[in-house]
């Protein structure tokens, strides 16, 4: 059976004598109650919440990049393993990536932050992917439930179109269909 390429061995080190908690390959961290972060996300401005998420994601992406190596061309499976491992290690939920035609959708489940944490998680994914593959990506919220999100990985033009579609009452599925109607048909991952 295939196992994840993410190795969590000694990923978190508790130095009880010094009163420190550290992540392997990274600096010290704080164990903060989930409720505190949730309330913070509800109180702060969206830009501030995003800044918090960028900080989280940037460090996570840097650790993933350090493990993979600078010259590596990771596959989709490796990205899901590594980035999902970081997300799980932080207690932010489980990550999966869906492929809807040409579109890539990040699905995060069991996120303890609730709906208030969507902005934080969007910023987390954007900054983490920038650190790993050096691509500027917008993680646009498609679907938000009590403990799960769907974030579309898209560019700036596509995010504007999808936002307009969703604000007019369209479903996120129809938004993806509409997005493909103007796209070219050179589908990656398909050999002719």
């Amino acid at each position: 059976m295939d196992t994840s390429s993410f190795d969590p061995t000694r990923a978190v080190v508790f130095d009880l004598n010094r009163g420190q908690v550290a992540l392997s390959g990274g600096g010290s961290v704080l164990l903060v109650p989930t409720q505190a972060i949730t309330e913070l996300c509800g109180e702060l401005e969206p830009a501030s919440v995003r800044q918090l998420g960028v900080s989280f994601g940037k460090q996570a992406g840097a650790r993933v990049r350090a493990r993979l190596g600078a010259s590596a061309v990771p596959s989709l499976e490796v990205i899901v393993d590594q980035l999902g491992g970081e997300l799980a290690l932080a207690g932010l939920g489980s990550l999966a990536i869906e492929r809807w035609g040409q579109a890539l959708v990040v699905r995060i489940e069991n996120c303890p932050l609730g709906p208030q944490g969507q902005e934080l998680m969007s910023a987390y994914i954007e900054s983490a992917l920038y650190a790993v593959v050096a691509r500027e990506v917008i993680a646009l919220g498609l679907e938000r439930k009590s403990q799960s999100f769907r974030l579309l990985l898209c560019g700036k033009a596509a995010s504007v179109r999808v936002k307009g579609f969703l604000s007019s009452g369209g479903s996120w599925g129809d938004a993806l269909v509409a997005l493909h109607q103007t796209a070219t048909h050179d589908v990656p991952g398909a050999r002719v």
């Binding site: 989709l76 492929r99 990506v137 033009a157 589908v187 990656p188 398909a190 050999r191």
Partner: protein, 181 residues
Amino acid sequence: VASRSMLESLLARVRQRASEPRQSVLSIPPLRVPRLDAEPPAFGGARRAQAVLPDEDIEEYEDELIEIIDEVELPTETPPDVRPRGVPAFGQSAAAVNRGTLDRAASDRPAPVTPHTPARGIGAARPASGSTITASEPLRAEVVSRRPISVAAIAESQGTRRDARTVAFVELLDAALKLGS
């Protein structure tokens, strides 16, 4: 005392009777079903018919006849059904089987050899029309194979889709970023 000429005449009659065909011992005499509406037969009618038979003369000189008959070679009649009869495994004609009884003369003969007639086995083939196979017809196999499938467009695809998990993430991400642009 019987004279010799009388005995010789009796011997001649015995030989004549011996040469006459007799009913087989193993055969079952036909049953008579009496009719209810028929008149009962008169008593002694059958006995009177038997009384006129000349067998009375034979009984009279029974002892002498036994001695004479022992000296004479009489044609022996062997029951035909007690002889061993082989049952042919192959070659028995279908007509004989369909009749329900074996023709005795035909069964005593050796089974006809028909090398060109195919045996009715798994590999044997018969024409679809059901006509009988003659000896001159060559043996051929009847193969039932799958009929060809007509060419029809079941589905159309732009290509074979690879498993996404093995594709480079950057390749997939760059394609996703092109959407809507």
